[in-house]
């Protein structure tokens, strides 16, 4: 059997085993919570009774996946060179509020308005990530520690800004605080036409977020950058072996700064699908925690854009089931358990299968060396 095929089969088997195990563990948890695992898994795949409900369900899943995908990308860029950017959480929140506020300060034709908002978000996210990068390069501060600390600063700073300097007019009797509403030229057009093309009703709420297109382009861009450019190669080289990279002329300081800033700039975009596509402001209901989820998504997707996309869709698929599970009288915390076990088991399975494949390869190479008489070289 060729080594590549063997490895592939092994990986498939590993992923299968991981998912079967995850289902088994979740079933135990569901039973322990006093619900029926069967009902739970039926609910996971139940997208609703009417066409509208199905469309709503699919939209919810994709809308959830879009920011998770961007978050996964942001984390993965750092991971690829062994930089643990735990600060994605803070970077996207501070970027989101700044972008949402700047977007209200002017009115321009829609493409320009949206572009400016995207650029501001990326710039703020990148600049905020520059702080831990400079600290690491200048004083050797571990980026894990500094980014975690900067998260707290960003979260509280964002909470202060939304209450104070950036606050908008609060509707009478409402307790939620938010930035002023964005002008209509900053509303990202939705993709409901995709459903209407097939004669399906348009989803409710904000519709299918048009930012999906930006996310896909971003994914392609990151893939090209990491796999097809010199910069991507240097990132990978620094990640695999920093001293070897240094020896071959890669400037590690420059790499830390550029990878961190790139990671932060991508992180800055995480909040935009929601702000531009649905809420049209940054408010107290802004979705938190996406930066941390991005770590799980990046791990599950093995730091590759395509893998991250699949992982994000899987998370979106599971998260969407919050409502249906409760309709089936299953506690929705089951979802968190499933997500956790899947990530853990897939990571473990990856490690086991790659070790098995490596051992087989070594054995094969050893046999090869033992049996083959070395070729004599004539001078």
């Amino acid at each position: 059997m060729p080594a590549g095929l063997y490895r592939a089969l092994l990986t498939v088997a590993g992923a299968m085993a991981a998912i079967v195990l995850a289902v088994a563990i979740s079933s135990v948890a569901i039973s322990a919570a006093g619900a029926s695992p069967q009902a739970a898994f039926a609910a996971l795949f139940n997208f609703g009774e009417t066409e509208r409900a199905v469309v709503n369900g699919i939209t919810t899943m994709i809308n959830r996946a879009v920011p998770l995908f961007i978050a996964g990308l942001a984390v993965a860029v750092g991971f690829r060179m062994n930089l643990f950017n735990i600060g994605v959480e803070g970077q996207y929140r501070i970027a989101a509020i700044c972008a949402a506020y700047v977007g209200t300060l002017f009115t321009a034709p829609a493409p320009i308005q949206i572009l400016v908002i995207i650029v501001v978000a990326a710039a703020v996210g990148g600049l905020y990530a520059l702080i831990p990068a400079l600290m690491k390069v200048g004083r050797g501060v571990n980026e894990v520690i500094s980014t975690i600390m900067l998260n707290y600063i960003a979260i509280n700073l964002a909470a202060f800004l939304v209450r104070g300097p950036f606050t908008g007019v609060r509707e009478k009797g409402q307790l939620t605080t938010s930035t002023p509403p964005l002008p209509e030229s900053a509303w990202f057009p939705n993709l409901n036409v995709l459903f209407e093309m097939f004669g399906l009703p348009a989803p409710r709420g904000g519709g299918l977020w048009g930012f999906l297109v930006v996310a896909i382009l971003l994914g392609l861009g990151v893939w090209v950058l990491l796999e097809r450019t010199r910069f991507g190669f240097e990132v990978k080289a620094s990640g695999l072996n920093a001293s070897a990279a240094l020896a071959s002329g890669v400037n590690p300081k420059k790499m830390v700064i550029s990878a961190m800033v790139l990671s932060g700039a991508i992180a800055g975009l995480i909040g935009l699908p929601e702000i531009l596509g649905d809420k049209h402001n940054f408010g107290s209901n802004f979705t938190p925690g996406l930066g941390f989820l991005g770590i799980a998504v990046a791990l599950l997707g093995r730091n590759k854009p395509a893998g991250i996309a699949v992982a994000a869709l899987l998370f979106g698929f599971l998260d969407r089931a919050q409502g249906p599970l409760q309709f089936a009288n299953v506690p929705p915390s089951v979802i968190a358990i499933m997500q956790g076990t899947i990530v853990l088991l897939v990571v473990v399975a990856n490690e086991i299968t790659s070790r098995m494949a490596l051992r087989r390869e070594e054995r094969r190479a050893a046999q090869h060396l033992g049996t083959n008489t070395p070729v004599e070289v004539k001078a």
């Binding site: 590549g4 592939a8 092994l10 990986t11 498939v12 590993g14 992923a15 299968m16 998912i19 996971l44 795949f45 139940n46 997208f47 609703g48 009774e49 009417t50 066409e51 509208r52 409900a53 199905v54 709503n56 369900g57 699919i58 959830r64 979260i155 909470a159 202060f160 209450r163 509707e171 009478k172 009797g173 409402q174 307790l175 939620t176 409710r204 709420g205 809420k279 408010g283 107290s284 209901n285 979705t287 938190p288 925690g289 996406l290 997707g301 093995r302 893998g307 699949v310 992982a311 899987l314 969407r320 919050q322 409502g323 409760q326 309709f327 929705p332 979802i335 968190a336 897939v346 790659s354």
Partner: protein, 358 residues
């Protein structure tokens, strides 16, 4: 390198297959289901069926059912509607990041529930959007004002109830030092603080009041962080406070644990927490609870809906209608009941105006 690529493909194929299966399931349902439910045809202006039986949907705030406090109070009202009005009920909890509030409302509306109640001010915007999409469904939102013609705002005068809690705390306190733990520093919880502080000062003008909020506005984790609640309350008890009032949802559990450890007292919130708390050893530390009768609000709203009431306005539950008040379980405030009744009367009569802002 090769193995990694294959691994990626493997995971991809797997998840892809799952997703496709999901789509297939959803698709299958749409075809065969037109007869079983009341929907005449999918895709009309509204998917909500005509009201035959009373189907009441309720979406909780973060923390969900089982918080022994705010959400559970709402559920009590819903359950009462089930037993007394024969309503079919369904209650949903949001994801822990609260990202799917609007989605829950739509899922309830799609499943034919009417009326639908959102518990918590965070539903304000989502209810408005859902109400505009489902114009023939009636909505209600607790703690937020009405903002559409089919939305009823269910409001409470928390500052008045908290004033009584302040009076009780100041009268019962031996050290003249009390504390307040707020879950999230927003205008709603500040109403509790304002009322409590005014109540304490009305009894002991020089009383020391520690105030601590667990998280800033916009970060709702303060409502479900018993660890933070415990730390905050521990500090107050160590500094000499002997009674701590909490308005922090789930985090209150930590306040009670701190009170039990310090052998001091605490005041619960929203529900009669001495009754609702599961940990029996913590019951005795809960001197009283500031009742916010969300159950009354929810039940009365459902009853009014049955009677044909429409939205577009607010209903305020204050001391006058016993929408707020103090719990007497345990009998620890029975001896000061006269004083509390007098304060209540003054508020109801308008002699005292309780501030809603600290």
């Amino acid at each position: 390198m090769l193995s990694k690529r294959f691994g990626r493909m493997a995971v991809g194929t797997m998840a892809g297959a799952m997703l496709m299966a999901a789509a297939a399931c959803g698709g299958g349902n749409t075809g065969g289901d037109t007869t079983s439910s009341a929907q005449p045809s999918a895709g009309t202006a509204s998917d909500a069926p005509k009201a035959g039986a009373l189907k009441v949907g309720l979406a909780f705030d973060i923390g969900g059912r089982g918080d022994k406090s705010f959400n559970d109070a709402a559920y009590a009202g819903l359950e009462k509607a089930k037993t007394e009005l024969g309503a079919e009920i369904k209650e949903l909890s949001p994801a822990s990041d609260g990202s799917n509030r609007g989605e829950l409302l739509r899922q309830l509306a799609d499943a034919g529930y009417n009326p639908i109640i959102g518990v918590g001010f965070a539903y304000g915007e989502d209810i408005k959007k859902a109400a505009e999409e489902y114009t023939d469904v009636q909505f209600a939102v607790v703690d937020s004002a009405s903002n559409a013609s089919n939305v009823t705002g269910l409001l409470f005068a928390e500052e008045q109830g908290s004033y009584l809690a302040g009076v009780a705390a100041a009268t019962k306190s031996k050290s003249g030092h009390v504390g307040f733990v707020g879950g999230v520093e927003n205008d709603l919880i500040k109403k509790f603080e304002a009322g409590f502080v005014a109540g304490v000062k009305s009894v002991k003008a020089d009383a020391k009041i520690d105030v601590k909020y667990l998280t800033p506005d916009g970060d709702f984790s303060g409502f479900k962080a018993p660890d933070k609640g415990k730390v905050a309350a521990e500090k107050m008890y160590q500094d000499g406070a002997d009674i701590v009032y909490h308005a922090s949802g789930d985090s209150g559990l930590g306040v009670f644990q701190a009170a039990a450890a310090a052998k001091k007292k605490a005041i619960g919130v929203d529900s009669d927490q001495r009754q609702t708390i599961k940990e029996t050893d913590l019951q005795s530390v809960i001197m009283t609870s500031m009742l916010k009768r969300v159950d009354v609000g929810v039940f009365e709203y459902i009853k009014a809906f049955q009677g044909g009431a429409k939205g577009g306005s607010n209903v305020v539950y204050d001391l006058k209608v016993d929408g707020v008040g103090l719990a007497t379980t345990g009998g620890e405030i029975d001896d000061i009941q006269d004083k509390l009744d007098a304060a209540k009367k003054d508020i109801v009569d308008g002699k005292i105006t309780v501030p809603a802002k600290p």
